[in-house]
Symmetry: C2
Amino acid sequence: MAGEEPSLTGGERDGSEPWEVRESYAYLGAVTERPTAQLWDLVDSVGPVAARRLIRTGRAGEELTAQTQARRDLVDGAALLDAAARVGARLIVPGDPEWPAHALQPLDRPRGRRRNGAGGVPTALRPLGLWWRGPADPASSLGRSVAVVGTRAPTPYGRTVAADLGAGASAEGFTVISGGAFGIDAAAHRAVLGVRGTTVAVLAGGVDRLYPRGNDGLLREIAETGAVISAQPPGTGVTRYRFLDRNRIIAALSSATVVVEAAARSGALSTAAWAAALDRPVGAVPGPVTSVASVGCHLLLRDRGAVLVGRTADLVELAGRMGETAPPPTGEATPWDGLDDVTRRVLEALPTAGGAAPAEVAASAGIAPATVRAVLGRLSSTGAVVRGPEGWRRSGGGGMQLSLPVS
Amino acid sequence: MAGEEPSLTGGERDGSEPWEVRESYAYLGAVTERPTAQLWDLVDSVGPVAARRLIRTGRAGEELTAQTQARRDLVDGAALLDAAARVGARLIVPGDPEWPAHALQPLDRPRGRRRNGAGGVPTALRPLGLWWRGPADPASSLGRSVAVVGTRAPTPYGRTVAADLGAGASAEGFTVISGGAFGIDAAAHRAVLGVRGTTVAVLAGGVDRLYPRGNDGLLREIAETGAVISAQPPGTGVTRYRFLDRNRIIAALSSATVVVEAAARSGALSTAAWAAALDRPVGAVPGPVTSVASVGCHLLLRDRGAVLVGRTADLVELAGRMGETAPPPTGEATPWDGLDDVTRRVLEALPTAGGAAPAEVAASAGIAPATVRAVLGRLSSTGAVVRGPEGWRRSGGGGMQLSLPVS
C-alpha cells in the first residue's frame, strides 16, 4: 500500500510535508472529535493520504468506519486549510520539521525522566496536526516552554503572581503557554506581551474563532507576536469537553505546568493532572488558606505531589533547565551565624556595659570557668569582647548586635 | 550504690517521687545549662540523689565535674522548689506518674512510626524535670497535643489562621502548645482560651518570670487554666540559646507541629527542624508568595517535607488520630459529574431550544449516529433530554444546567 502513496516519499523543498499530506491531515484531524487509537493506527500503517481515502470510502474497518460515520462526508480538508489561510493560519503536521515531536512523541517511545518532562503521549491524545496562527516558530518556541494556568476568576494576588511568573519565565527565555482564558491565563499572556516575550495561547475551538470574545484584542496580539494554536480545525466552536482536550494539549506541549490559582474543581486541575500523567513536572502557587481561589493549588501541593512555586527561579528549576536549581531563600545574616554554642552562651552572658568576671559569666552560662576564659581570650582577639576596669563586656562597636530571636 | 538511695525505692502515697528526689532533680536540672550526656548517664546509673551528692563533692568524673564546676556550689534545689511554690508551680520529674514519658522517652527505646509522633529524644535534650505552673494535668494534656508556632511579627492573615487552628484543634480535644511569644504564639494561645480549651506555654526562662512582659496577662491566664512550663529553673532569664532549647521542648512534647507564618530565619523553623528530627510530623500553613511572613513556611513545604495545613482537619490528620483523615476539599457537584465522555458530548451538542436531528448531533459531536440515538434514548428516560416537534433538545427543567468550565 506504500506504493499508493508517492506523496509521502516526495516532499517540499524546505523538508515540510506536501500539500496533499497536509490536506489529508486536515481531514483526519476533523473527521473524529479527537484522535482515536484506530485512526492513529491507520495513519501509522498506510500514511495520511491513504488513510483519508479509506475512511472516505468506508473501507477503514468496522470500528473506525463507525467512529467517522457522522462526519466523513462533511469534512473538507482543503476548505479547512483555506479557512485557516484567511486568518493567516496554517496546519503543521507530523513529519514537518517544525512539528513539536519532542512534546508529542507516542507513549511507546522511551520515556524521559520525570523532571525532563519528556514522557510520551498516549496515541489517542496526540493531535493529528496543530493549527498555528502566528509568527512564532513551533519547534523552538515549544522546545523551552512553561504553562502558566489557573482560574478564570482570580484574586488580585493571583493576577499579580501570574504576571510575575509569566514575565519572569519569559525573561529566562521560556515560551509561556496558556489557554487564552479570562483571569490567570490572560494575566500570564499579557505580562509576556509586556516584556516582548513569546507566548502561545492554546484554544479549545478553531484559531479563526478567537474565544472568549472578551479576550479578542489580547488573542489578536498573541497571534501577531507569538501564536494562537488549536488541535481543532477552523470553524470549531467551544464545548466543555473541548476545553478539557485543550488542557491536555497545554500539558503535553509544556516542559512544566504551574497552576497559579484554582478553585477545588477548576479546569486548571485537569491540566495539572494531565501534565502529571504525561510525566511533566507540576507546580502550584500557594496562597492564603482562607482564599477559595487557592484551594485547588493547596490540593495539588498537599495530596498530588505538586512542587511549591513561589518565584520564577522555582519555575525555572521545575522546568528542569540543566544545572539550575533555585537557591533557598535566606534572611539577613547575623553576627551570630557560625558561632558555636559555647561561644554564643559566653557572649550572651556578658554585659554590654560595665563588666563581669569570668566566674560570673561561667555561672550564668553554665560553662566551666576555664572554658569561659579561653573563649574570652579568643573573642578579645577578634574585638568582639573587651576587658574594662569592671571586667569583661561585649564590645559596643558595630558588629556584634544582640536581639532576641523571633520564635 | 543503690543501697545509698532508699528514697528511690520508697515513694509518696500517690506514686510520685519523694521530696529528696525532687530536690535532687531541681539541682541537677540547674547545675548545667542543659542536660549533658554525662549527667544523664550518671543519673541513670546511680539515681538523682546520689548523682547530686557526687557532683556537689566533685566526685562525678572529670568531664562532668568540669561541666558542673561553674554552678555546682551555687545551685540550691530546695530554694528552687520554694521559688516555684511561691508562684504556685511545682517540678515534675522522671518517675512521676504524670511525667510525659511518651514524649520524652530516650532515643534508644524503640522508635515509633513517624505519624505517631513517638520518636525518641536524644539524651542530651531530655529535660531533667519540667517546671509546671498551672492546673492542667501533665500526662493527659500532653498526651494529645499539637504545637502551633510562628513568627513574632505576623500578618493579620497569620493571626487569623493561628487562631482558627488553635481553636479548631482545641475543639477536637487537643492541647495547644506554643511558646507564649508575641504574634502567632499569642494568637494561638488566646484562641484556645477563648474556647475554654487547654493551652500550654513553654517558656525559655523560669516559670516565675513571665516573658515577654507584654504577654504577662495572657501568660497569667494560661497559668490559671492550662499551664506555663519550662525546663529552666525559676529565676532563669531568657537568652537566645534558651529560646532554641525551648523550641526543642515544644517539638518534643507535641504530637505534631504546625508553623503558621515564619520568615526565612524564624525561630519557628528551628522548632519544625527539631520536630522533624524527633520524628514528629511537621505541618506548614501556606500564604501569599508575596508575603515575607510566609517565606519560611514555603521553604518547609517546598524543600523540607512539611505537610500543607490549611484547616483544622489537616492538623488533626497530621497529629495522627487513628482512622481520621481529612477529606479532600471539593467544589459543588454539577449535573455533569459521573457522565461518560460520549454522553457529555451528546448533551453539549444538543440545543436547549428548538431541536436537532440525531444526524446533526452526531456530526457536531463527532459520534456515530447509532451511538447518538442510543444515548438520546437513555437520556430521555431520565428526563435530561426531550424530543419536540423540531427534534431533540436538552430539557429546560432544573437539573441539567450548562456552563463553560473554568479553565
